[in-house]
């Protein structure tokens, strides 16, 4: 099967000046849509994906054959109801599901980019995605929504394009990547580059895969997406298919086995260099600094109605960091609602079956759609 048959791609001809200084043009942006764009073209929702997400938000992902990453929230009659709304999601540039990324061939050298690929920022990702609005003839999105790195894109999108979204829903995110966030990302990158199969990023040309390093990166990151309480309740000290400890280094505990599994399935669908690039983009994200220390200035020109959502057990992007966004918006009299949802599922709460979250998200979206904003 040719993977590319299942991937819709927009070739962006217009040159895009990246934050790193390089300019790219004629590059592919892979995307997927769900639902139907109405006649007025005012029912479009741009969904922005997180670090390891892709454009296949819901339904069966044609590449992995598994449920889309946000199947709980997006689909017919769900929070983001595809019977009513036209959902667009693009694979971020730097990614590995069809959009321009480090696994692509450099037309000049005819070699795979690897680490020769330009460093991408959240700002670059958003500036690439906005081309989809022109492509579909959408003047203004009804909403721009995303969790985690998706939330950062939401903030950047509204800041860059203050009149292109009626509503914005940044979820479990931050306006400025913290030292702890950067530290965890660096741990992941070090795991990848320490894998002797990484070969300075040229692994594909040499038929090699740094899957051990990428799996360790995923395992470490996965722990940060869960809460201590959630882990304890799900796994505790339960043993993996054995009655007693084996006095060795096999996966004695279920949590070990679970993490190893998470690592192993991840390497099948994700590119190690993309992981380096996207985590770097997250680390470089600092909307506060971009506006000289005053986050409010990022949103000065916008009339967009915001709804910020955080989760009680999210220690990766804790409530306080989400509240900073609310505070910045309130201090300029912007229209912002905020709620912290009770959940012990950690940062991953936004991806999982958390009924209070899904219900509130739906209510906000449906009510706002009826309003004349």
């Amino acid at each position: 099967m040719n993977i590319k048959e299942n991937i819709k791609t927009l070739i962006i001809e217009k040159p895009l000046k990246l934050d790193c200084g390089q300019t790219i043009s004629n590059f592919p942006l892979a995307y997927e849509t769900y639902g139907t764009l109405n006649e007025n073209k005012d029912n479009a929702i741009l969904v922005c994906h997180a670090l390891t997400g892709d454009q296949f938000v819901t339904g069966i992902n044609p590449i992995t054959k598994k449920d889309g990453w946000w199947a709980y929230a997006v689909g017919p009659n769900k929070s983001i109801d595809t019977n009513k709304y036209f959902v667009i999601c693009a694979n971020v540039i730097g990614g590995c599901m069809g959009s321009f990324g480090p696994s692509h061939q450099n037309p000049k050298t005819k070699k795979i980019y690897g680490t020769e690929f330009p460093v991408i920022t959240i700002n670059d990702m958003v500036n690439a995605q906005v081309n989809l609005l022109d492509f579909f003839g959408i003047e203004k999105l009804f909403s721009v929504v995303g969790g985690s790195m998706g939330g950062m894109q939401v903030l950047q999108f509204v800041s860059n394009f203050p009149d292109k979204a009626k509503t914005a829903i940044p979820i479990a995110c931050t306006s400025s990547h913290s030292a702890q966030n950067i530290a965890f990302n660096e741990l992941g990158r070090q795991a990848i580059t320490a894998d002797h199969n990484w070969l300075d990023g040229n692994y594909t040309a040499k038929n090699s895969v740094p899957d051990k390093g990428l799996a360790v990166a995923r395992m470490a990151a996965h722990i940060t997406y869960l809460s201590k309480k959630g882990l304890q309740e799900k796994f505790g000290r339960k043993l993996q298919e054995r009655d007693d400890l084996k006095f060795g280094f096999d996966a004695d505990f279920q949590i070990e086995s679970y993490l190893r599994y998470q690592g192993s399935v991840f390497v099948d669908r994700f590119d190690a260099n993309s992981y380096l690039y996207i985590t770097r983009a997250m680390d470089y994200f600092d909307l506060v600094k971009q506006f000289n220390g005053n986050l409010s200035n990022a949103f000065k020109k916008t009339k967009t109605k915001f709804f910020v959502i955080s989760f009680t057990s999210d220690w990766l992007y804790p409530t306080q960091e989400n509240k900073e966004i609310v505070i910045a918006l309130n201090s300029i009299g912007a229209n912002v609602g905020f709620v912290e949802i009770e959940s012990d599922k950690g940062h991953d709460s936004f991806l999982l079956d958390v009924p209070d979250f899904l219900k509130t998200l739906k209510n906000f979206i449906d009510k706002s759609f009826k309003e004349k904003l």
Partner: protein, 199 residues
């Protein structure tokens, strides 16, 4: 059915003004003001559940605590800030009043009157902390840690130094003005005091 209290509050608010409802509960007053007064209305509410109810009604509400979270609003952000029957529940009511008057050009504060005759009689005859319709809690589980009377609030305005523009006493559905000459009686018979104040 609309509470009389809310109708009085609404009558104090000019059309098309901006309003912050502090402790907005399930958003009943917010909805009323939005529809009847065409206000640009925001709410702040401490209960997650109630915030979600408000969001479901299409209201713009943030989860927060007036003592900690009003500071994010700049001076004079709103034409009116409303605080309905919650002043007595704060650890520091003085700070909250000052914050209301900083954030709002005007504030509307309502207080359950601890000087009501039933409350007084309850304590006098039973010798236990009063329990009435408007104060249904026991002393050990009440959220109301700083109860005051209508008279206390009037004195409070002199101590803190804010102006009372309008003061009304509510007894069942009876509304009456409070002034210096009838303060003694209003403090005895009013169940609720409603004050429009300014710094």
């Amino acid at each position: 059915m609309m509470k009389t209290e809310y109708k009085i509050i609404a009558s104090m608010i000019e059309n098309n003004s901006s309003v912050l409802d502090v402790g907005c509960d399930n958003g009943t007053l917010m909805e009323y003001l939005k529809v009847n007064k065409n206000t640009n209305i925001r709410g702040i509410e401490i209960s997650k559940e109630k915030v979600q109810t408000c969001i479901a009604k299409g209201l713009t509400v943030i989860e927060g605590n007036a003592e900690l979270d009003l500071k994010q609003f700049p001076n004079n952000s709103f034409d009116y800030v409303v605080l309905g029957q919650t002043l007595q529940a704060f650890i520091n009511p003085e700070l909250v009043i000052k914050e209301l008057l900083r954030v709002g050009k005007k504030a509307i504060v309502t207080i359950p009157n601890f000087g009501h005759w039933k409350v007084r009689l309850n304590l006098l005859t039973k010798g236990t902390m009063p329990i009435t319709n408007s104060l249904p809690h026991d002393w050990y589980n009440t959220p109301n840690i700083h109860m005051c009377t209508i008279k206390d609030f009037v004195k409070f305005s002199e101590i803190i130094g804010f102006k009372i523009f309008k003061s009304l006493a509510l007894k069942k559905k009876n509304i009456s003005n409070i002034n210096n000459s009838n303060l003694f009686f209003k403090n005895l018979f009013g169940e609720l005091g409603i004050f429009l104040i300014e710094k």
